[in-house]
């Protein structure tokens, strides 16, 4: 049925932006919940934040910011028909994204090791506000982590399409949309850093 091809790059980007609207509101709901709880338990959130490893948080921020840069550079490379360069940029994004996840998993593992996870016996002994803090910490970073994984899968496909010339100088809307998604994941992390790691 859809034998003919019609292209509406602007429409595709509009669709992607509208999807990003839903993502912003999704995390927005969590941020609203966070501020609600932080207002209720300022001291406990302060103390909870001091348990987190701020150094790892900052390193991960730098990793993710750089991975965002390489995506946008890959688009510039495609616009200039520099296919190899574009693939190199995209590959570095993938590597950086995986690095982010690895660092994140070390961080989570350390928390589990200290008994700081939902429903743990140790957490139950802490004041209620801190239990909520760690509940939110795992929920929000976990959901963000899922988005990183989704973004990496999308960009992996993009890399494949660049390699096979499905994405090329005159047709790169998919790469743009994949990039938009990745940047949004980055923006969410930009907010998570001060809310959790720098809260102390």
């Amino acid at each position: 049925m859809s034998g003919h091809v019609h292209r509406d790059d602007f429409g595709s980007r509009l669709g992607m932006w509208l999807f990003l609207v839903t993502e912003m509101v999704l995390f927005g709901g969590l941020f609203i919940g966070y501020s609600y709880m932080r207002f209720k338990y300022p001291a406990e959130f302060h103390h909870g934040g001091s348990e987190l490893n701020a150094t790892l948080g900052v390193i991960n921020t730098l990793v993710l910011l750089t991975s965002s840069l390489t995506v946008v550079l890959a688009i510039v490379a495609i616009q200039r028909a520099q296919k190899k360069l574009a693939m190199a940029f995209l590959s570095s994004t993938l590597v950086l994204g995986v690095t982010f996840l690895v660092i994140k998993s070390f961080e989570w593992a350390a928390k589990f090791h200290h008994g700081l996870y939902p429903n743990s016996a140790h957490l139950a002994t802490l004041p209620p506000g801190e239990q909520v803090f760690f509940g939110l910490y795992f929920t929000m970073t976990g959901l963000h982590g899922l988005h990183v994984i989704a973004g990496l899968s999308v960009l992996g496909v993009m890399l494949w399409w660049v390699a096979t010339d499905r994405i090329r100088q005159d047709r790169y809307i998919h790469l743009e949309n994949g990039g938009l998604y990745w940047h949004l994941v980055d923006v969410i992390w930009i907010f998570l850093l001060p809310l959790f790691y720098l809260a102390a």
Partner: protein, 104 residues
Amino acid sequence: MSEYVEHSADNQGEHHDEHPGYGTFIRVWVALLILTGCLVGASHLGQTYAVWGLLTLTPLKAGLVFYYFMHLRYEGPLFKVVVLVTLGTLLIFFALLFSDVAFR
């Protein structure tokens, strides 16, 4: 289905011919790194600075990513309106929620 897209009524915001180069984005990236440094620095100065850093520097960083990396700067007004409507809605949700929490 066919090539009727060309007639569509609003053609504003089609892609410009000249695209920004590598340099622009690398400069933005450097700015982002510096802002992150400032944010971390502010958080060490004490609670007040940390909160103000959170409230000013974080939106600024997010704004840079939206404006440059996500190409909002190079798009027509529609996408900017979409983003502003979204953020405005969240802000209103937040304010109304706090009409309960803050006065309970």
